[in-house]
Amino acid sequence: MSAPPPVSAQAQGMTVVARTQAQLVRRRFFRHRAAMSSLLLLVLILLLAVTSIGVGPIPGWWDKPYTGIGPVVDEGRPTLSVVPTFLGGDGLRWGEHPFGQENQGIDYFSLTMRGTQISVMIAFIVGLLGTFIGVAIGALAGYFRGWTETILMRLTDVIIILPLLALVAVLGRVAGNQGPVVLAVVIALFTWTGLARIVRGEFLSLREKEFIEAARAVGTPGHRIIRKHILPNTVGVIIVSATLAIAGAVLLETALSFLGFGVQPPDTSLGRLVSDYETSFATRPWLFWWPGVFILSIALTVNFIGDGLRDAFDPRQNKVRN
């Protein structure tokens, strides 16, 4: 059957389409409502986390420190209110301790923001570093084939068959003592396997294409073929994977920290907060809710963004949509 939709693209001719590839991707992404609202929400969360308590020596607009012990006011109940007065609520109010206070009187908003900063930072490092390693290994295996491929792919298989969480947990506690960045690097050492397989697959199919043959025929060196000819064609897959890897890394790090093999005190993370206050659930449930809601929101928005990117890069899936 001659499928109707491609007709207009055909009429325009291939060169026009190729030139506007990036624009097409951007347009499709911007039209993806779930992804766009997720992006907005994520940016808001990140802005809140960064500007409220500040970063390092730079102070933020929220004055209560995430380490300051103080008197517990009103059993540490949250003062945040969003229910309008005409509905019987307290109106829109931020208050002294919007997220409440924990057992020792530390402001829980500051603590949650600090946890968000650490968790997000780790997730981004893991996502980017893991992507880099995955692309490098996948590209080497897919391009050079032979022994390189066998060894690299068997290594990938080995890591895939072991439970990722357990594998990372083994080194996590040691690395956690060295600070969140080291922890992130250690996690990234084990999270590249999925992408490596995907990139290798892409390379295997691309290296058989005529334009690669042509490049080889004129004597282009291997590293240049990889960089200039193959990688640009896999960029969609890589970006989507990197995004989803970030979402996965948020969940992995928080789970690890929950088990006690991730971020170590005095640092904290969203997972650590859930673990620390799991026992106060019966008396102060908000100590449990806030970090959980933040983890869920971050993971969900990043996943939606990833989905939007996938649709944008690979519109084939939407061909039948009407």
Binding site: I159, I161, L165, A166, A299, F304
Partner: protein, 510 residues
Amino acid sequence: MVAFIARRLMISAVLLLVGTFLAYVLIALSGDPLQDLRQDTGPDRENRIAARTELLDLDTPVVLRYFLWLGGAAKCLVPFAGECDLGQSIRGQDVTFLLSGAIGATLRLILVATVMAVFVGVVVGIVTALRQYSRLDYSATLASFVFVSLPLFWFAVLLKQYIAIDVNDWLGDPVVTVGTAVAVGLVTGLAWGGVIGGSRQRTLVSFGIGFVGGAGLLLLLSATGWFDSPGIGPIGVAVMALASAVGLTALLSGFGYRNVLYAALVMAVIGIVANLSLGAVLFDPGWWTLLLLLLLTVAVGVGVGYAMGGLQRRQAVQAAVWTGVLTGFAVVVDRMLSAWDNYAEAVNGRVVPTFGSETPNYDGGFWGNLLDSTTHLALPTLALILVSVATYSRYTRASMLEVMNQDYVRTARSKGLNERTVIIRHAFRNGLIPITTLIAFDVAGLLGGAVVTETVFGWQGMGRLFTTALTEVDPNPAMAFFVVTGAAAVTLNMLADIAYAYLDPRIRVS
């Protein structure tokens, strides 16, 4: 095929060897087992250090130590020899002993979670693929996004602290309010309307059926006091048996040629009669008895289908066998629920447990213990499978959609096959192939998840063994976790590869 399996076995063995080596080295790097002793100020510090060094061979270089460990572990491959040696824990216990206490609960959890996740995920995936871009599809998509983004540990705590307590409180005085019934009815109505689809009128009718079915059933059960002492009863079993017969016939052959329906119905009747007459056998059976009964059911089903199938013998055999199996399942659930009162009394009415994998010191016979295990599995399984359900349903949906757009599905339609045959014979079979590989990967994820779930729900399983070992810097029990999970993953991968080759003739050749 034999050469294919042999090759897979070889690869699996190599993978497992490298995997355990990697794990061994990582564990050795992860901490010093003598750490706690070095900080010790007691008088016999040196002796204890020396003793532990001796116990764990700490003076041997890591690589060599791995091979010594491997030598012991290799003995596990000799069946029934009892010479399995996975080393000792820092307290001097045999790891195999620790493992034997932990492995059962975890494997049960993983097995149940896998079966449930595959079933639910694949069904949801197929339905959403067939109803692409419907409201049902969008809802399922949204749900799967939430599921994969939900932190497992957080959700598990939530289930434990909220759901379990609420359900237990409710079961103390189980009355369904009209409001609850209406809410449940709305959900079932929307779901049913979405699944059936079709024109607006048909969707509305389906919604009505779903609403009345859901809300009505709930109110009826509440009014009859069913929740006080739930059960199915012989009438319930009979209804389920007949419904399976009709449903399976509709799925497998339709009602155009009646022989298949008759075969399935005969099988259902045999099951109903067996349920009434096998009381003595089923009073307190064992797993072997049940297995034997299952085999018997299959054999009878094949016989009935073969004898009555007529021109559609193949479909009749399938319908009869599956009717028998489903009826058997209903019988098992019925018997298990018959232990409800006894069990509820033993746990003081708190029937949804939040701690451990079984009630300590409870012995309610085979059915009581089965019920006990089942209730203990409920929440951990629910927490554990969310991610997997989302993964399977998304994957199945994508795979089915891809297959449904294939030329050979169009060819099948052009031959005049009905939609049922097109979907089951041509789309489903092909769409299923990539799912087999997914199962193997997903189990590795479930095993990781089990570590978290066991921690939250206080199970004494492999996950707990592992986390305790890591905390105490105890290399050998941690290693045991990797051996078992690695072996499970490798075996499953191999099975998946074989299933793949079985399902896809193109692979078989190479």
